[in-house]
């Protein structure tokens, strides 16, 4: 069968939809280069001043640092917990594995604001309010579905006989997992981890309920800055976030062909 190329009308319509969806992003990126002190489109003159201002502002730098630490720790924890859970589910080591899988995926279906409120109440009940630890726990909850989804897909696509072969050849269960299972599901895990990183990096609705004054993340800082008025500085930092996300996703696609996992 030969692949049919879409016709002119379909292609133009698709391009139009992409343009419409990406319009806000384009506006923000363009506005970040403006010489004016207010947001304007098209930008008046071209300057990199706003980027310099943002990158020398300790408030922004601190927020970027907090966001990175949070995203890295949440993703690492999610990886360990999510892979362990997925393995138990995929190999039917626990009763009710279907239910368990749905439970772990639930945060994808629940509105983020609801998760935020629920977390806030839960943490104040157990007396864990306002610390960085609570933020990490919350981010694990919202990122673990991405790890579980790609880990389950990878594990179910793998021949169980390979693990059995390793064990018969003298490897204990953990060694068999480390030397055979893990390398085989790695592309899926890399994809899941990058996705989890991006989700944690850009989260507002859950974080805003839990972040204390000393844990302002980058998206929260942008969100609060906007209340004071949108300056090209906000646009510049948003542009940085967009570019960073894009780079991560492109790398992921390059390394793992990861569109298969999302």
């Amino acid at each position: 069968m030969t692949e049919q190329k879409p016709g002119f009308i379909v292609s133009s319509f698709a391009l139009l939809v992409v343009f419409f969806l990406q319009l806000p992003v384009i506006v923000v990126v363009l506005a970040s280069f403006s010489e004016t002190s207010y947001l304007t489109i098209p930008p008046q003159g071209w300057t990199l001043d706003w980027f310099r201002e943002v990158l020398t502002d300790s408030t922004y730098l601190n927020a970027i640092k907090i966001s990175l630490i949070l995203a890295v720790s949440a993703t690492c924890l999610s990886l360990v917990l999510g892979v362990a859970a997925s393995y138990a589910i995929a190999r039917r080591m626990v009763p009710g594995s279907e239910a368990l899988a749905s439970f772990l995926m639930a945060p994808l279906a629940i509105p983020a604001v609801v998760i935020g409120v629920a977390m806030l109440q839960y943490f104040s009940l157990v007396g864990l309010r306002g610390g960085f630890v609570t933020l990490i726990i919350a981010h694990v909850v919202i990122t673990v579905p991405y790890i579980v989804r790609s880990a389950l897909a990878s594990l179910s696509g793998m021949d169980v006989a390979m693990e059995e072969a390793a064990r018969v050849l003298g490897a204990d269960s953990f060694t068999a997992f480390r030397l055979v299972t893990l390398p085989l599901i790695k592309p899926g895990l890399v994809a899941g981890a990058l996705f989890s990183f991006v989700v944690s990096m850009e989260n507002v609705p859950v974080t805003i309920f839990l972040a204390g004054a000393r844990q302002t993340t980058l998206p929260i800082l942008i969100f609060t800055s906007v209340e004071m008025g949108v300056t090209p500085g906000v646009a510049a930092v948003s542009t940085l976030l967009i570019v960073a996300t894009l780079v991560v996703l492109l790398l992921a696609e390059r390394w793992t062909g990861f569109h298969r996992f999302v």
């Binding site: 059995e164 018969v168 490897a171 060694t175 030397l179």
Partner: protein, 353 residues
């Protein structure tokens, strides 16, 4: 090198008895096949021996050591899977070295033993390839090399040839036989292919419904089946039922068979199994008095053999296989022939139930 002994081995899945109190002993260096249709429990036995599933009852001994409670990695076993289960992210060398590395082999000793195993399966020079760069037959041989490299005390095969095409299967069968003879490792071979089981094994264990039907040499299993299941499963026999009359079996009026030995009472209903190659067709003119009269219903030429479907006077049909030598008499549908059935090759078993 050591023997394998199963005592009252049993496995029950959700109330279904897959394996029922199986007792089986395989001598040192012996090649034994577990033969039976799918669902007969043969793979379940193999997986219990490997330690991949836990029996519900009984015990497994390898070389006199009770391994029933040991995990697979403590049993010193080689296993060749139906899907080969090669590690796709490792080279052929690393696949074969996997078991040796678990035994802490390093350096030149490791290298020489991997190369030795690859030479045994005639894959020298393929060490740096990846499994996906090999053909099905080559992957199969890597799987064998991987299983034998750590010098296991017991070798298990789970339908290893069923994924290969017919020609390759025959080649691998010979290769396997040669390998087993050279290494003399105690071997348990699971298959549903009777030709494979008969030609490879020292002894064949025919299974049905989780029970051993017969455990004998290939010749005995073929020539003297002990149960109706074995008689109908091995070979491609014709099955007729009749009643014992003195020293012969009456199939219906006029059709009487005279087997050489008859271990049944007068008047008992019996099944008679007649192999396709145990019957000679005689032209109408030179029929002996013992020959059974029949008509050719169908003729099918398949190269070395010609298969005839012949119809008896009572309407039942038999399949007869005749060599297709140029000198042999050729029959056409509609011809009347005599069936000369060798008395030694008639297998008579009392009707069960």
């Amino acid at each position: 090198m050591s023997d394998l002994s199963l005592q009252r081995l049993a496995k029950t899945y959700d109330g279904h008895q897959a394996v029922r109190d199986v007792n089986l002993t395989i001598g040192e260096g012996e090649f034994v096949s577990l033969l039976g249709p799918s669902g007969c429990g043969k793979t379940t036995i193999l997986r219990m021996v490997a330690g991949l599933i836990t029996p519900t009852g009984g015990s497994i001994q390898i070389g006199g050591r009770d391994v029933t409670a040991l995990p697979p990695n403590k049993r010193n076993i080689g296993l060749v899977f139906q899907s080969y289960a090669l590690f796709p992210h490792m080279t052929v060398f690393e696949n074969v070295a996997f078991g040796l590395r678990r035994k802490k082999e390093r350096g030149s000793e490791l290298e020489s033993r991997v190369n030795e195993a690859l030479a045994l399966v005639r894959l020298d020079g393929y060490a740096e390839r990846y499994p996906r760069q090999l053909s099905g037959g080559q992957q199969q041989r890597v799987a064998m090399a991987r299983a034998i490299a750590p010098r296991p005390s017991l070798l298990l095969f789970d339908e290893p040839l069923s994924n290969l095409d017919a020609k390759l299967r025959d080649e691998m069968q010979i290769e396997l036989k040669r390998l087993q003879r050279d290494l003399t490792i105690t071997t348990l071979f699971v298959t549903h292919d009777q030709t494979e089981a008969l030609s490879l094994s020292d002894r064949v264990c025919v299974m049905h419904d989780g029970i051993i039907q017969q455990y004998d040499t290939p010749e005995e299993v073929y020539r003297r089946p002990k149960t109706a299941f074995v008689a109908s499963f091995i070979g491609k026999p014709n099955q007729l039922s009749g009643v014992v009359k003195g020293q012969s079996v009456e199939i219906s009026d006029g059709v009487v068979l005279k087997p050489s030995s008859l271990d049944a009472k007068n008047g008992q209903t019996v099944d008679v199994f007649i192999r396709q190659e145990a019957v000679s067709l005689l032209a109408k003119g030179n029929m002996s008095s013992d020959a059974v009269a029949a008509t050719i219903a169908l003729r099918s030429f398949s190269g070395a053999q010609i298969q005839y479907v012949v119809r008896l006077s009572n309407g039942s049909e038999l399949v007869v296989e005749a060599p297709s030598a140029a000198s042999a008499t050729n029959f056409e549908p509609g011809d009347t022939v005599g069936l000369d059935i060798r008395p030694d090759d008639m297998i008579v078993l009392p009707r069960e139930g």
